[in-house]
Amino acid sequence: GAGVSQTPSNKVTEKGKYVELRCDPISGHTALYWYRQSLGQGPEFLIYFQGTGAADDSGLPNDRFFAVRPEGSVSTLKIQRTERGDSAVYLCASSIPGQGVSNQPQHFGDGTRLSIL
């Protein structure tokens, strides 16, 4: 079946611009996660949605970052006034609900490589 889909695969933009990154989770997965992976590092948690609501946004680095999931399926990560330090691979993952989110494995997409010039 179809996995987690992320678009675009690559995005290059200039410093100061606004970007949107899209994640289409596996059908039926109500939990959705965003991670950021800087070069040579492991992924770092940004935000977690259960359905339409953000259950944990403690990883968002500042108020330039925002994410939505209005219908409980597709999610968009939005970054305002981009900075060169925002350059990274942004990974999305989804999972089915269970007793304790970590009981269910998170399925990852291929990520969006964001480059800020």
Partner: protein
């Protein structure tokens, strides 16, 4: 705060050999999950193996097995009969049983030589 440490940035072994990747973690909790993820150049994170902290028996998945030492907070991955397709970044990761996020280590780049 919870941390995951992988002290081997890179490793290289010959095809068919056995290789062990090291991982240590820090937590004050008693219930949690540990994972090893594989990330090939395609960037997709693939779950290799998972261990529940309350289980004493080490998890195994075909050629992949772990050595889980709870008291020492150590969680190493052993790959037996390594194959060229095992070449990838390997991330050790930690999550609480009831938490939402996964905490990843910095990774080990594994190369399998023909």
């Amino acid at each position: 705060a919870q941390t995951v440490t992988q002290s081997q940035p890179e490793m290289s072994v010959q095809e068919a050999e056995t290789v062990t990747l090291s991982c240590t973690y820090d937590t004050s909790e008693n219930n949690y999950y540990l994972f090893w993820y594989k990330q090939p150049p395609s960037r997709q994170m693939i779950l290799v193996i998972r261990q529940e902290a309350y289980k004493q028996q080490n998890a195994t998945e075909n050629r992949f097995s772990v050595n889980f030492q709870k008291a020492a907070k150590s969680f190493s991955l052993k790959i037996s009969d390594s194959q060229l397709g095992d070449t990838a970044m390997y991330f050790c990761a930690f999550a609480y049983s009831s938490a939402s996020k996964i905490i990843f280590g910095s990774g080990t780049r594994l190369s399998i030589r023909p």
